[in-house]
Every structure is written in structure tokens, then in C-alpha cells.
């Protein structure tokens, strides 16, 4: 078990955003977290990466309880998130942004290798490597965010809405890359609005609703679950 979340609750001020969430991610999996806007998907991600404190419950990574660990130390443990809304450093060039992904790493050779790999995955980024992140288009920023997360060579990659604001072609591309990354050995936890794509690619998935997990199963199961279809795919 790579990641194990047990009965996690989280508060925003006095509003409870998560009510006892439990989920697991196994090594080598793609796990998707789907749900409507405001259901608590991104909040879950923030709790895992340590940007928000949890009120109760525990988060274990490779068997170690990391619930009280500082966010940057979680990154050092091999847990890296490409945040929602991309979180590009607008004043840094594409290369510098990618370098930030490798901030915790000291092996120069490995970093260079990964940089080559990322630029290979995203040729657009290679073209714009000297350009400040703020001037990229939405899709390019999304690629940069994913590429940057990869630069830390994470054991578990957390992707928060990688398809947001992207044209269909690009969505396709991003998901292809997610699959490819996964095949290369990175475990992925994916939060998606685009349930169709997410479920199609994921090994397993959880459905969140108002801060609770209401359903879970394999991607295929959920993809064909009529209730899920109606609620999140808009298909009556």
C-alpha cells in the first residue's frame, strides 16, 4: 500500500469540508477521484500534500504516518502534486519552473536526464524553455505543471484537474501522458472533473459527494454505473 488515508476530516473555518474520507492507492495504480465542483476533491489533495491541516484521521505514505509532516518534507518522501489552477511561477522561465520541480534533488545527472525526458514528453515546453511561465497559454501551463511535478521523480504523483481549461485535443494528450507516466512506473492519484476520461484511464476510482466518499470501484465499473453516469456524466 503506497498511500493510505483513514477517516480524514478537514475544516475550513467552521465548515467541515471532508467528513471521514478513507481511500488507498497501491503502487503502480492510477486512482481517480471524481465528483462535482465543491465535493471536496481538491481539498482531499491539499490534505494529502500537506497544504491544509487535517482535523482528524491519518494519512500514511509507505507505512509512515505523514499527517503531521510539513508539506516540503512530504515532497522529499516522494509525493508530488501538480496543483489545481496549475500554480505556475509566473516570473520564472519554463526551465526554471521545471528546475523548481527538482528542488529537493541533489543528483545532477538524474535531474538532467529527467529534464530531457520531460522536454521529450512535452515538445511545446522545449520550444518555450526561455519564456516566463506567466506568458504561456493555459494548455502549456498545464503541461508545465505536470512536467514540473515529474521532475521530482515522485513515487506518487498527485494531479489536480490536469484537463481543466484545455481543448479536447489537449485533454486527450494530457491523459495519454498520464498513462505513459504510469506505465513508466509512477503511481498516480488523479482528481478530475472530466469523469469520462478519468474513469476510462483509471484502474480504480472513488466518487466524492459533499465531502464524503459515496462510491468506489474499478474505473470500468464506475464508468458504467448508471447513477454515476447520470450524476457526473450528465447522461440521463
Amino acid at each position: 500500500m503506497l498511500l493510505e488515508i483513514d477517516d480524514v476530516s478537514l475544516l475550513y473555518g467552521r465548515i467541515q469540508a471532508l467528513h471521514g474520507i478513507s481511500l488507498t492507492v497501491d503502487e503502480g495504480e492510477i486512482v481517480a477521484l471524481i465528483g462535482a465542483n465543491g465535493a471536496g476533491k481538491s481539498t482531499t489533495m491539499r490534505a494529502i500534500s500537506g497544504i491544509r491541516p487535517i482535523a482528524t484521521g491519518s494519512i500514511r505514505f509507505e507505512g509512515e504516518d505523514i499527517s503531521k509532516l510539513r508539506a516540503d518534507l512530504r515532497v522529499r518522501r516522494g509525493l508530488c502534486q501538480a496543483p489545481e489552477g496549475r500554480g505556475i511561477f509566473p516570473g520564472m522561465t519554463v526551465l526554471e519552473n521545471l528546475d523548481m520541480g527538482a528542488y529537493t534533488r541533489r543528483d545532477r545527472a538524474g535531474v538532467a536526464q529527467d529534464l530531457a525526458r520531460v522536454l521529450d514528453l512535452f515538445p511545446r515546453l522545449a520550444e518555450r524553455r526561455k519564456q516566463p511561465g506567466g506568458t504561456l497559454s493555459g494548455g502549456e501551463q498545464q503541461m508545465l505543471a505536470v512536467g514540473r511535478a515529474l521532475m521530482s521523480r515522485p513515487k506518487l504523483l498527485l494531479l489536480d484537474e490536469p484537463s481543466m481549461g484545455l481543448a479536447p485535443m489537449l485533454i486527450q494528450q494530457i491523459f495519454d501522458i498520464v498513462t505513459e507516466i504510469n506505465e513508466q512506473g509512477t503511481t498516480v492519484l488523479l482528481v478530475e472533473q472530466n469523469a469520462q476520461q478519468a474513469l476510462a484511464r483509471a484502474h480504480r476510482a472513488y466518487v466524492l459527494e459533499t465531502g464524503r466518499i459515496v462510491k468506489s470501484g474499478t474505473g470500468a465499473e464506475l464508468l458504467h454505473d448508471p447513477a454515476v453516469k447520470e450524476a457526473y456524466l450528465g447522461v440521463a
Binding site: S49, G50, I51, R70, A71, D72, L73, V75, R76, C80, Q81, P83, G87, F89, P90, G91, M92, E96, D99, M100, G101, Y103, T104, P132, G134, R148, S152
Partner: protein, 316 residues
């Protein structure tokens, strides 16, 4: 208004203004760095400057130099300057670190609102300044005259002396070093990352506490060097001078666009020159008035300063 006073002394007012401005700029960097990363006016930064300035004087005293000593020989002068500079930088960086630890970090741990930070900053500033005042019995301390201010050469008839060269040169050198540090080093990249988006930076594995510490150390060292240059130039130090100088330096930082390193330099130099022109034009008593008037007017037309805000956003 004394236009004659302004024009006949234009050259010298400019050079002395630039010299003073260089000191403002170095102190302004500290404000700008901390503001860029924490969005906090580090009100106590003026005391960081004073700590360095006193440290330099006390170092010289330790070598048996007082305000009446004459030092000759370029070698020994350089030695004294260098030693005092290192001590001053360490003292200032240390003071800044202590302020961060004692006054700011506990508040960050409690997620206190910005106003609370401002008040602790003011409290720390008053307390440190008073501590120096009580220790020195509120009397001025003299520094030896290490560098001669006899004119070395003339440019367009304006005499340039060694103190001016040293001050402006050292300030520029420190600026370049800081610029390199921020833009080239790994820590510098961390600083810019935290300044632009602290949460995302944490997601990249940046330790915010460590970065904040580095920012205080970097800003503190700059202030320490500024303290040394101040000693060399003015040769006397009173515990209370930090307040106004700090205020001016902050003004300089805002003028240039707070959070913007190059803005701090430009703001500092501009402020030094403008207030000197004003003292030529209206009389020295209106010098500070002019400095603040420039700030107010500028902010009305360019609400984020000359070069605009933010560390890193405009490529630092």
C-alpha cells in the same frame, strides 16, 4: 526658493545624494526582500541596520580606534574596513534572525493576521532601539575617519572623493551579488518561488521556514554593510538614527516598487538625490518633507511604485 543654491551646487548635491541614496538602497533591499516573501513591512529592519552600524564601531574600538584616531596606509584601512564589514554583516544578520525567530515565527505558527505582525514589528523596533539607547546612554559614538574625503578627482568640475566611491561602489557590488544570489542560486530560486506562490513552492519541496530565514539573513547582511558605510561616511552614530533612515529606506523601496530588487536600488538613489535637490532648493529643513512628498505624489500616479511590485514577477 533658492534656484541659485540648487543650480550652483547641482553637481555636488547629485554626488552626495547618490552616496546617501546608495545607503538607502542597501537598507531598502531588506524591506523589499522580506515584503516580497512575507508581504510584511518589517518595521524592525531599521534596528537591524543600527545593530550593524554599532557593531562596526565597536569592532574598531576593539582595535583601539576611536573618533580621534588617524589610520594611514591603504592596507590597514582596507583591513579595518573588511573586518568591520564582516562583523557588521554578521551582527545585522543575527539581529534580523533573532527578530524573525522571536517576533514573527511564533505569529506565523498561530496564523495571525497581518496587523498583528505589524504591531510586533513595531514593538521589536522600539525595544531594540531603546536597548541600544540605554546601553550607549543615548550619547553619540564616534567612528575613526578611515577613508579620507579629500577630493580624488573631478568630473565636470564636481569633486569625487574616496568615501563616495567606496559607498556607491560597495552598494552596487552588494546589489550585484544579491541579484546573482536570487537569480542564480538554488536558494534564490526557492526565495522567488515562495514569493510568487508559497503553497506551490511547498509542493515543490521548498522549506518555507528556511527560505524565510535566508531572506532575513540576506536582508540583514545588506543592512549591516549599509551600517558600515554609514559609519564611514558620517563617522558618528546615535542609537535613534535608525528610525528615520529606516523610514526613508522603506520609502525608497516603495518608490521603486516594493518587492522588486532593482526597484529598491533605483528608489534609493532617486530618493537620495531628490531630497538633496530639495535641500538645495528650499533649505535643508525641507529635505525629509520633500522625500515623503515625492512618495505620496508618486503613489498617486503609480500605485505600485516605479518598477511595479513583486519579487521575481518582473524577473527580479
Amino acid at each position: 526658493m533658492d534656484f541659485d543654491g540648487l543650480f550652483s551646487n547641482f553637481g555636488e548635491l547629485t554626488t552626495t545624494g547618490l552616496t546617501q541614496g546608495a545607503i538607502y538602497a542597501l537598507v531598502a533591499l531588506g524591506y523589499t526582500l522580506v515584503y516580497g516573501v512575507l508581504r510584511l513591512i518589517n518595521f524592525a529592519h531599521s534596528e537591524v541596520f543600527i545593530a550593524g552600524a554599532f557593531a562596526a564601531i565597536w569592532t574598531w574600538n576593539g582595535f583601539g580606534l576611536d573618533q580621534n584616531s588617524q589610520v594611514s596606509g591603504i592596507g590597514s584601512v582596507l583591513f579595518y574596513l573588511l573586518v568591520a564589514m564582516i562583523v557588521a554583516a554578521i551582527a545585522s544578520a543575527g539581529t534580523a534572525t533573532v527578530i524573525e525567530r522571536v517576533a514573527y515565527r511564533p505569529l506565523r505558527k498561530r496564523n495571525a493576521p497581518p496587523l498583528a505582525f505589524l504591531i510586533t514589528a513595531i514593538g521589536a523596533s522600539i525595544a531594540i532601539s531603546e536597548a541600544f539607547g540605554i546601553y550607549t546612554r543615548r550619547l553619540p559614538e564616534g567612528a575613526p575617519s578611515l577613508v579620507s574625503s579629500k577630493p580624488l578627482f573631478h568630473v565636470f568640475g564636481v569633486p569625487i572623493d574616496a568615501v563616495q566611491l567606496l559607498t556607491i561602489g560597495a552598494a552596487l557590488l552588494m546589489m550585484v551579488l544579491l541579484d546573482l544570489f536570487i537569480n542564480r542560486s538554488r536558494t534564490g530560486r526557492g526565495i522567488r518561488a515562495v514569493a510568487q506562490d508559497a503553497n506551490t513552492a511547498a509542493l515543490m519541496g521548498v522549506n518555507k521556514d528556511r527560505i524565510i530565514l535566508m531572506v532575513f539573513i540576506a536582508g540583514g547582511s545588506m543592512a549591516g554593510v549599509a551600517g558600515l558605510l554609514y559609519d564611514v561616511r558620517i563617522q558618528t552614530l546615535t542609537y535613534s538614527v535608525g528610525f528615520l533612515l529606516g523610514l526613508k529606506a522603506f520609502t525608497a523601496a516603495v518608490l521603486g516598487g516594493i518587492g522588486n530588487l532593482r526597484g529598491a536600488l533605483i528608489g534609493g538613489l532617486l530618493l537620495g538625490v531628490v531630497e538633496n535637490y530639495a535641500s538645495g532648493l528650499f533649505g535643508s529643513q525641507w529635505k525629509d518633507f520633500a522625500a515623503f512628498a515625492v512618495l505620496v505624489v508618486l503613489l498617486m500616479f503609480r500605485p505600485t511604485g516605479l518598477l511595479g511590485e513583486s519579487l521575481g514577477r518582473a524577473r527580479a
